[in-house]
C-alpha cells in the first residue's frame, strides 16, 4: 500500500519474555503515563479505550475530579464520584507526590517504562517537578518518549500562567458571548466540553506521532485549549471573514432553521441546503404566507429573520412536533425533538446501538456510563477495567513492573511520597 512501508505500527516492542497476544486493539502495547489531571482526562480515556495501557498518576490526596459530583447516592468521598468513574474507565491508577523533589527518581523510572507522557504543568494549582519553561519540556522524560502537554492557554505567551476551568475557558473562546438572552448574561455550555475536545485533539496528535518512525517519537506537543476553542470558530461567524460580531439570538436560523414551539413540545429544524426551504413549505401544505419565491434564497431569509420567524411560529403553534418529525424525516428534512438529557438517556436509539456500558467498582457500585464514541468492524474499543481506586496499581506498577522492592514502596508510603 502506498506510503505504508516507511511507517511503523503504533506499538512498542514488548519486553523480552512477555507473551505476544494475537488479540488486541489499535494501541495494544503502547504505554501512557498520565499526569494531566482533569484537562487530559478524556485524552487518556480515549487512548485507553483503544487499547493503550494508561496509568493515571494522582497526588496521594487524589485527583481533583474524585471530589467533583455527581456522587453515587450523594455520598461524598474519593471513591464515590461517578464523574471520576466515567473519565477513568479502562485506566490503571497509581499515586505519587509529583510536587516533591524526591519524586524525580520515580518519575524517571516511570518515564523509562512509558512511550507517552501526558502532563498539564500550568493552569492547575499543583506544580509538576522537573518542568522546564523554555522550551517547554520535562527534565525527567527519557529519550524516545513523546511528551504531550495539555494546558488552558499553551506553555508560551502572556497568558501561559493563567488559571482556568472549563467554565472560564469557554468564556474566552468567543463562543459564550453569542449564546443566551440578549439582555441577560451570556451562558456557559455545561460540562467540560472544550477540555474534552482538546483531549480528542491530543489523542489524535499522539496517535499520528506514534505512526511515525521511532526517532520522531521524542518530541513535545504543546496543546492549548484556547487554540482548540479558536479552531472551532473556523465554521461560521469568523471575524476574519467579514468583520462580523455574532450577537446573542434567542433562536438559531435563519428560518425555517431554529426551534419551534408546537402544541406538544419543541421541534428543531436544520435547513442549510437550498432545497430544504421547498421541502419545508411542502410539509406545511404550502401556506399562502410562505409562497413568495424570494424566500427560497437563504440570504433573503437572513434579512427577513424576524418577520419569517413570526409567521412560522404562528403556523407551528397548532401543529404536532412529533407528527412533523416523522413527516419531515421521511421527506429528507433534518429535524429533531428538543429533549431533556434524561429523555435522551431513555431513547431507544443509543440503547439499540449498545451505547451504554457497565462500570462496576467499589464506591460507585454498578452504573451504566456512556460507552464507545464510535463503533467499528472489527471493534477497536474494549471495556474491561472500571476506574481505579486511589493507588490501586501502586504495587503492581512500582514493584512488579518497575522492579522496586516491596520495602521501598513501604518506605515511600510512610514518607507520604506514594
Amino acid at each position: 500500500m502506498p506510503g505504508m512501508s516507511d511507517v511503523q505500527a503504533p506499538r512498542r516492542d514488548r519486553a523480552e519474555g512477555e507473551a505476544e497476544s494475537q488479540a488486541g486493539q489499535p494501541l495494544t502495547g503502547v504505554r501512557v503515563l498520565d499526569l494531566s489531571g482533569r484537562i487530559g482526562a478524556y485524552c487518556g480515556k480515549v487512548l485507553a479505550d483503544i487499547g493503550a495501557d494508561v496509568v493515571k498518576v494522582e497526588l496521594p490526596t487524589g485527583d481533583r475530579m474524585r471530589f467533583l459530583p455527581p456522587f453515587r447516592d450523594g455520598r461524598k468521598g474519593p471513591e464515590s464520584s461517578v464523574l471520576f468513574a466515567y473519565y477513568h474507565h479502562n485506566k490503571r491508577g497509581i499515586t505519587l507526590d509529583w510536587e516533591r523533589g524526591e519524586a524525580r527518581a520515580l518519575l524517571e523510572s516511570l518515564s523509562a517504562w512509558a512511550d507517552v507522557v501526558l502532563a498539564s504543568p500550568k493552569g492547575e494549582p499543583e506544580q509538576l517537578i522537573g518542568f522546564v519553561d523554555d522550551p517547554p519540556s520535562l527534565s525527567w522524560v527519557s529519550d524516545s518518549v513523546l511528551t504531550c502537554f495539555i494546558t488552558p492557554f499553551g506553555l508560551t505567551g502572556p497568558y501561559r500562567g493563567w488559571r482556568a476551568t472549563p467554565f472560564t475557558s469557554f468564556a474566552m473562546s468567543g463562543y459564550m458571548h453569542a449564546v443566551g438572552d440578549p439582555e441577560g448574561p451570556p451562558l456557559a455550555m455545561p460540562g467540560q466540553q472544550f477540555y474534552d475536545e482538546a483531549g480528542i485533539w491530543a489523542a489524535f496528535l499522539v496517535q499520528a506521532t506514534l505512526r511515525g518512525p521511532r526517532d520522531l517519537w521524542a518530541q513535545v506537543i504543546d496543546l492549548s485549549v484556547h487554540e482548540v476553542g479558536l479552531f472551532n470558530k473556523l465554521g461560521t461567524e469568523q471575524y476574519g471573514l467579514a468583520g462580523h460580531i455574532k450577537t446573542r439570538l434567542t433562536n438559531f436560523g435563519p428560518p425555517p432553521g431554529g426551534i419551534w414551539q408546537c402544541r406538544d413540545g419543541f421541534l428543531d429544524i436544520g435547513a442549510h441546503s437550498a432545497h430544504h426551504w421547498d421541502l419545508f413549505v411542502d410539509l406545511l401544505g404550502r401556506p399562502d404566507v410562505l409562497s413568495d419565491p424570494i424566500y427560497r434564497d437563504r440570504v433573503t431569509r437572513v434579512r427577513l429573520f424576524d418577520m419569517l420567524t413570526d409567521l412560522i411560529a404562528e403556523l407551528f403553534s397548532t401543529r404536532s412536533a412529533r407528527e412533523f418529525l416523522v413527516a419531515g424525516q421521511a421527506a429528507g428534512l433534518p429535524c429533531a425533538l428538543t429533549q431533556t438529557p434524561a429523555q435522551f438517556l431513555r431513547d431507544p436509539q443509543p440503547a439499540a446501538r449498545g451505547f451504554f456500558v457497565p462500570s462496576t467498582r467499589e464506591g460507585t457500585g454498578s452504573v451504566r456510563i456512556p460507552g464507545p464514541p464510535f463503533i467499528s468492524v472489527p471493534p477497536m474499543i474494549a471495556y474491561g477495567r472500571s476506574a481505579p481506586r486511589l493507588g490501586e496499581a501502586n504495587e503492581q506498577v512500582y514493584v512488579r513492573e518497575l522492579g522496586h522492592s516491596a520495602e521501598e514502596l513501604q518506605q515511600w508510603r510512610a514518607d507520604g511520597l506514594v
Binding site: 500500500m1 502506498p2 505504508m4 511507517v7 505500527a9 506499538r11 489499535p26 483503544i50 467533583l68 459530583p69 455527581p70 453515587r72 447516592d73 461517578v82 522550551p135 499553551g154 508560551t156 467554565f167 472560564t168 474566552m172 458571548h177 449564546v179 451562558l187 456557559a188 455545561p190 475536545e197 480528542i200 489524535f204 499520528a208 506521532t209 506514534l210 505512526r211 520522531l216 504543546d222 492549548s224 482548540v228 479552531f231 472551532n232 470558530k233 469568523q238 476574519g240 471573514l241 467579514a242 460580531i245 432553521g257 428543531d268 434579512r303 429528507g332 429533531a336 431533556t340 438529557p341 434524561a342 431507544p348 436509539q349 443509543p350 452504573v367 464510535f374 468492524v377 472489527p378 477497536m380
Partner: protein
C-alpha cells in the same frame, strides 16, 4: 502567506484519503488528516456543489470561480489543505473511476445521507473487495444502525436530541466539530488496526454518540442516581461559586469560578468582605447571592480585562467573555501565531484559525488554499491512476469527470 508548509516528516504523509465529507464534520475531519500530511482528495459534484459553496453572508457579494461555480470564504477555510476532484457519481463511468481511486486509497471518509454510498455500489463491502486494507469512516447523525438509522441531522438537531439545548440554550454548530475531531482520531486508530493485520476497518460514527461521550457530566447523575440534570444557568456543579458578571462597558462580562474554599477566601479578602467567609459546611445559596452582589458591585466599575488581570494575579480562575472581535485581538493567540493567512485568487487573503498542532518536530500545517471545484481532477487521475492525457480526456468526454478547463489564473495566490 503560508503555503505548502507541510514538512516531509509530517506523520501522516503517504496516507491517501478520498472524501465525500461535507459541511463541518466531514471537512474538518479531513482537514485535520491533511494538515498532518495526508493527501486528501475531496470528491465534488459539478451538478450539486456543496451547499457551503453558496453559503453567503448577507453583506457579502457572491464570489464565482473562473468556471462560474460559486465559492465562499467559509467553504475555502474548511476545505483548505484538501484537493478537489470532480467525479460524476450519477453515471457508471464516474463510479468506476471512483472505485479505481478507492483501490489505491488508505481511507475513505463520507457523511452522506443514508444509503447513498450503497446506491452507488460503493459500500464498505464493495470497496474493500478491491482493497483489503481499506479504512472507511462513515459519519452520520444517529449511526448507521438502530431505529433512527435513516434519520438526517445537522448539528443543531444533535444538540436538541442529546438534551444540550434544554440544559443550556439554542445553538448550532458545536457537535459538528466534536464529530470531526473524533473522526480524525478514529481514522488514526483504524490505520493502526490495519497495520496490526485487520482486514480493513469500517467505522460507524454517530454524531449523537461522540456528543454524548463528552456530555457525560450532564448524564451521570441520572444514570447513577435517577436524578435529572438540574443545574441553573452558569452554575458549575461542585464549585463554590460560578458566575458571569456584568462589567463596565457595553455588553461586557467576566466569568469567575471559585473552585474551592481557598478561592472563596481569596475573593472575600480581595473584596474586603470578611463577613462572607465560609464555614465548614460550604456556601449556602444566600451566601452565594451575597458574594455575587459584592462581585457585581466591584466589577461594574472595571472592564472584563481589568477584572481578569486583577484576579488572575491572585490565582483565581477568571476570564473575559470574549466576542469574536476580542478573540481576533487576543494577545495570547497572537503571540502564538494561532491564525494563518491563506490567499485565494477568487477570495483574496483571509486570516483563519490555524490548527492547534503544536508539535516540536512534526507540526504539519496548511498545505494549500481551499480548492476550486475540480481543480485537481486531472492531477489526481495522473498521480493515483497513472492516467495519460488522452485517458483523462476520455474520462472527461464520457462525463465521468468534470474539468474546470483553462482558468487564466491557477496560481495559488
Amino acid at each position: 502567506m503560508v503555503l505548502s508548509r507541510s514538512s516531509p516528516t509530517a506523520p501522516l504523509s503517504g496516507i491517501r484519503v478520498l472524501s465525500f465529507g461535507s459541511f463541518v464534520a466531514g471537512n474538518i475531519c479531513t482537514l485535520m488528516l491533511a494538515e498532518l500530511g495526508a493527501d486528501v482528495v475531496k470528491i465534488e459534484s459539478h451538478d450539486r456543489p456543496e451547499a457551503l459553496r453558496s453559503y453567503d453572508a448577507p453583506d457579502q457579494p457572491p464570489v464565482f470561480e473562473p468556471s462560474g461555480i460559486r465559492t465562499t470564504a467559509l467553504f475555502a477555510g474548511m476545505t483548505r489543505s484538501l484537493r478537489s476532484a470532480c467525479i460524476d457519481m450519477t453515471n457508471g463511468s464516474g463510479r468506476r473511476t471512483f472505485r479505481r481511486l478507492a483501490e489505491r486509497a488508505d481511507v475513505v471518509v463520507e457523511n452522506l445521507g443514508p444509503g447513498t454510498m450503497e446506491s452507488w455500489g460503493c459500500s464498505f463491502a464493495d470497496l474493500r473487495a478491491d482493497n483489503p486494507k481499506l479504512v472507511m469512516l462513515s459519519i452520520s447523525g444517529y449511526g448507521r444502525s438502530g431505529p433512527l438509522a435513516e434519520f438526517r441531522a445537522y448539528a443543531s438537531n444533535i444538540n436538541n436530541f442529546l438534551g444540550l439545548t434544554s440544559a443550556w440554550a439554542p445553538d448550532g454548530i458545536h457537535f459538528d466539530f466534536v464529530a470531526g475531531t473524533h473522526g480524525a482520531c478514529a481514522v488514526a486508530a483504524a490505520l493502526a488496526e490495519v497495520d496490526r493485520g485487520a482486514p480493513g476497518v469500517f467505522v460507524d460514527m454517530a454524531q449523537t454518540e461522540t456528543g454524548a461521550a463528552i456530555l457525560a457530566p450532564l448524564y451521570l447523575d441520572y444514570l447513577a442516581n435517577g436524578r435529572e440534570w438540574s443545574a441553573g444557568p452558569n452554575e458549575v456543579p461542585g464549585s463554590q461559586f460560578s458566575g458571569v458578571i456584568r462589567c463596565l462597558g457595553a455588553d461586557a462580562w467576566v466569568a469567575i469560578e471559585l473552585e474551592d474554599a481557598r478561592d472563596w477566601a481569596v475573593m472575600c479578602s480581595f473584596l474586603e468582605r470578611p463577613d462572607l467567609h465560609l464555614g465548614d459546611a460550604g456556601p449556602t445559596p444566600e451566601m452565594r447571592e451575597s458574594l455575587r452582589e459584592a462581585i457585581e458591585e466591584w466589577a461594574g466599575a472595571v472592564s472584563p480585562f481589568q477584572a481578569t488581570h486583577k484576579l488572575q494575579k491572585l490565582g483565581v480562575a477568571v476570564g473575559p467573555v470574549q466576542n469574536s472581535e476580542d478573540l481576533w485581538r487576543d494577545a495570547q493567540l497572537r503571540s502564538r501565531e494561532a491564525f494563518v493567512e491563506v490567499c485565494h485568487p477568487d477570495l483574496g487573503c483571509i486570516e483563519y484559525p490555524n490548527a492547534p498542532n503544536r508539535m516540536s518536530r512534526t507540526p504539519g500545517g496548511v498545505r494549500s488554499r481551499g480548492p476550486r471545484l475540480g481543480e485537481h481532477t486531472a492531477d489526481v487521475l495522473r498521480e493515483w491512476l497513472a492516467c495519460s492525457e488522452s485517458d483523462v480526456e476520455d474520462l472527461r468526454t464520457s462525463a465521468a469527470v468534470w474539468l474546470p478547463g483553462e482558468t487564466g489564473d491557477s496560481s495559488p495566490c
